[in-house]
């Protein structure tokens, strides 16, 4: 497949509830062309880029790149697109080079030796490659995010306010790099707010109140012209207060000399002659799922190893709970066999809710969740990777707590059947908690909602675990076996359902 693929947006409309944010936006960006997308605040520029990047599903219309279109084929479109979002999608506990290598592997980009260093050098960060990103200023974060975008071999580049926070030097470096990428045959769309930075584009299109209202060369849109266009769009919106809401296909819009009618327009200014890279970029490199899975595992374990943001509080909580439980009940060994299983399974449930919730909240708060959602292909790889990390975390907490329980209660829980039950519980819980945390953390209630969603769904699993562990401790292998089967069946059912529906949750 050639690198040269045009981006076609065909009558894209997007409504959030009854509010239309985009109305039948049609635009074609040719290979090698740079289009500057201008518009007032709230015009729908970011929404348009997010639809084109498959982070949002259009209410109607399609995004086409080559033979693929979104919807429905978001996974394939995603493989052809690189998005630089509002947030830089960087992990503060990884260094600059590690951040780039992580995304390189997650997205299945070619891992050519020296590519990361070259991208860092391109954005003036060569001497900061080994520095943790938490020490970077806003401008440096933007430089690193741009370096990641420039590392991508994808034929379509979507840049949302790419020059935010850059100094004049960085601005020029970034503009030069974008020009080079376009010269290689990439189709580039850059949402900009400052008309002074748009002169590197081949074409400017103006979006007002969700409609493309004008297009032309950068020189056609000095600040004053843009102000008039924006004002005219606002006036029209205010003037329509008494009207019913426009459906996207209704009504004409501004009548400037460059007014756009429906339909897809090509480049009005010829882009530079395309030369350079024509190497194939497969839709989904072979073994990409496994590479992405490994990348997620590596990233989460490395961050946890450095920051211990989740494990240390969970172990402290487990130790404290164990101490309080032991001190409060002063259990004799015969009673301990009955009560300790309750403690362990409740610990597993709370650790799952708190630990997994915290890890998912961190992804969302850092804004990196969107970066993960841009993984080409099936997003269930995110589910697999996250569930695996969460299982390992829960497993570690439980193993250390088992050792402590032996001391506090004079009770050995190192029975293979008990370990199997707890391992199954950890896997099932991490699966369903990963799914529900992705839901809860995107809501208003966040950490408060997660246990409300999780506890009732996980209750049969926890009850089966408690009963099974108790049966094994009380030397009732038949009872233990029945509860093990119930737990296994529920575990598999829950994990399978969570896996199947995760794709639906995993979008912005």
């Amino acid at each position: 497949m050639s690198l040269e693929l045009a981006l076609q947006l065909e009558r894209i409309s997007k409504a959030f509830g009854p509010r239309w944010v985009l109305r039948e936006v049609s635009l074609t960006v040719q290979p090698g062309e740079i289009v500057a997308l201008m518009g007032p605040n709230g015009a729908g520029k970011s929404t348009l880029l997010r639809v084109a990047a498959t982070l949002l599903r259009p209410t109607s219309g399609r995004v086409r790149i080559g033979d693929f279109s979104w919807p429905p084929d978001g996974a394939r479109i995603r493989a052809q697109v690189t998005l630089l979002g509002h947030q830089p999608w960087l992990y503060p506990d990884l260094n600059a080079a590690e951040n780039l290598r992580f995304y390189q592997r997650l997205y299945g980009w070619p891992e050519e030796p020296g590519a990361v260093d070259a991208a860092l050098r391109r954005m003036g960060l060569a001497d900061r490659a080994r520095d943790p990103v938490r020490r970077f200023s806003r401008g440096m974060l933007q430089r690193l995010a741009l370096a990641r975008a420039f590392l991508s071999p994808a034929p379509v580049l979507l840049l949302d306010e790419p020059f935010t926070g850059l100094d004049v030097l960085g601005l020029e470096e970034a503009r030069e790099a974008i020009r080079e990428l376009a010269a290689q045959g990439r189709a580039v769309v850059a949402a900009l707010h400052d008309p002074a930075t748009a002169d590197f584009a081949h074409r400017v299109v103006v979006l007002v109140s969700g409609r493309l209202v004008a297009e032309g060369s950068p020189t056609d849109f000095p600040e004053k012209t843009l102000q008039e266009l924006y004002q005219a769009g606002m006036d029209r919106r205010t003037g329509s207060a008494a009207e019913r809401p426009l459906r996207p296909s209704e009504g004409n819009f501004l009548s400037t000399r460059r007014m756009l009618s429906d339909g897809i327009r090509g480049a009005s200014t010829a882009p530079a002659k395309v030369e350079g890279i024509r190497s194939a970029f497969p839709i989904r490199p072979q073994g990409h799922g496994l590479r992405a899975f490994q990348a997620l595992l590596w990233k989460d374990l490395r961050i946890e190893g450095r920051a211990r943001e989740t494990l240390t509080p969970l172990l402290t909580l487990a130790g404290l709970s164990l101490f309080l439980f032991g001190a409060a009940f002063e259990l004799r060994p015969d009673l301990a066999r009955s009560f300790v299983p309750v403690f362990f399974w409740m610990l597993l449930l709370f650790a799952s809710s708190l630990g997994v919730g915290r890890m998912m909240a961190s992804e969302i708060d850092r804004g990196t969740w969107e970066g993960l959602l841009m993984v080409p292909g099936d997003r269930s790889v995110l589910f697999a990777g996250k569930a695996m990390v969460h299982s390992l975390l829960l497993g570690l907490v439980i193993l250390l707590s088992l050792a402590a329980a032996g001391v506090f209660f004079n009770l050995s829980l190192w029975d293979p059947a008990i370990l199997l039950l707890l391992a199954l519980g950890a896997v099932g819980l991490s699966g369903v908690t990963t799914l529900l945390a992705a839901i809860a953390m995107a809501t208003r209630a966040r950490e408060l909602l997660l246990p409300i969603l999780l506890f009732p769904v996980a209750a049969p699993l926890v009850i089966a675990g408690i009963q099974g562990t108790r049966a094994i401790l009380e030397a009732d292998p038949a009872g233990g076996s029945i509860w093990l089967q119930i737990l296994l069946a529920y575990d598999l059912l829950l994990f399978a359902v969570a896996w199947m529906v995760f794709e639906e949750v995993a979008s912005s």
Partner: protein, 230 residues
């Protein structure tokens, strides 16, 4: 109201009245438990329609994720609301029945526990809807949760059949020797039960339709409000 709606609602009211008559007049008095057993017809009918409502919510949720048509989300939402009310009635009638038969209002029996879990799961569904502002995200998350939540429904059904329980199984063989309140169904009892199930199922369908229409009307109202604000 359209004529077919009038016929539908009229039939439902008539059948509900007939079912009530059958429960208190036609059905025989159970030999051991006496008149208190008559609550069984309400208990089983509300439990059945409650779980039917959750099955409708499951279908609506799958359909929503496939089509993204808001009407499926509205159907699921309506079904869960009604299902919760019906399951609450099933739990209350069960508790009222348990007091004289089991000598307690409540016991941590597998069937009671799993039914309560299902009830809480669907309550969480409503709380989730309340916590999401964006209508599209709300519908998507709610649909996903309704699919996950339904996993607890077969567990509830199987709990009284697979585990040691004191909850009676009236339909089908019981595996538990500890079941209390077990009784044999006479033909008149079967007639009454079937009539009750049909009447309550019809009542559920009417309530679902009405709630669904209210949801549609609310959506239309929101659109008008949005247009006025724009």
């Amino acid at each position: 109201m359209r004529s077919w709606e009038r016929i539908w609602i009229g039939t439902t009211i008539a059948l509900m009245a007939l079912a009530a008559l059958a429960v208190f007049v036609y059905a025989p008095r159970e030999a051991r438990m006496g008149d208190v057993q008559r609550i069984f017809y309400f208990h089983i009918s509300t439990a059945w329609t409650g779980f039917l409502a959750f099955a409708v919510a499951l279908i609506g949720s799958i359909a929503y994720l496939r089509t993204r048509a808001v009407r499926w989300d509205q159907l699921s939402h309506a079904a869960v609301e009604i299902g919760l009310v019906l399951l609450t009635m099933a739990i209350i009638t069960g508790s009222l029945w348990a007091r004289p038969v089991w000598n307690t209002w409540w016991t941590w029996d597998p069937r009671l526990t799993t039914t309560t879990i299902t009830w809480v799961v669907y309550l969480a569904y409503l709380l989730l809807r309340n916590a999401v502002e964006n209508p599209e995200t709300r519908a998507r998350f709610a649909a996903v949760y309704a699919i996950v939540a339904f996993v607890t429904v077969p567990i509830t059904y199987l709990s009284a059949r697979l585990l040691r329980t004191i909850h009676p199984i009236v339909l089908g063989p019981s595996v538990s020797a500890e079941a209390q309140g077990q009784f044999g169904l006479t033909p008149r009892m079967v007639h009454t039960m079937v009539l009750s199930l049909i009447a309550w199922t019809l009542l559920f369908s009417v309530l679902l339709w009405m709630r669904y229409r209210v949801q549609r009307a609310q959506e239309a109202l929101e659109e008008i409000e949005e247009a006025m604000e724009a």
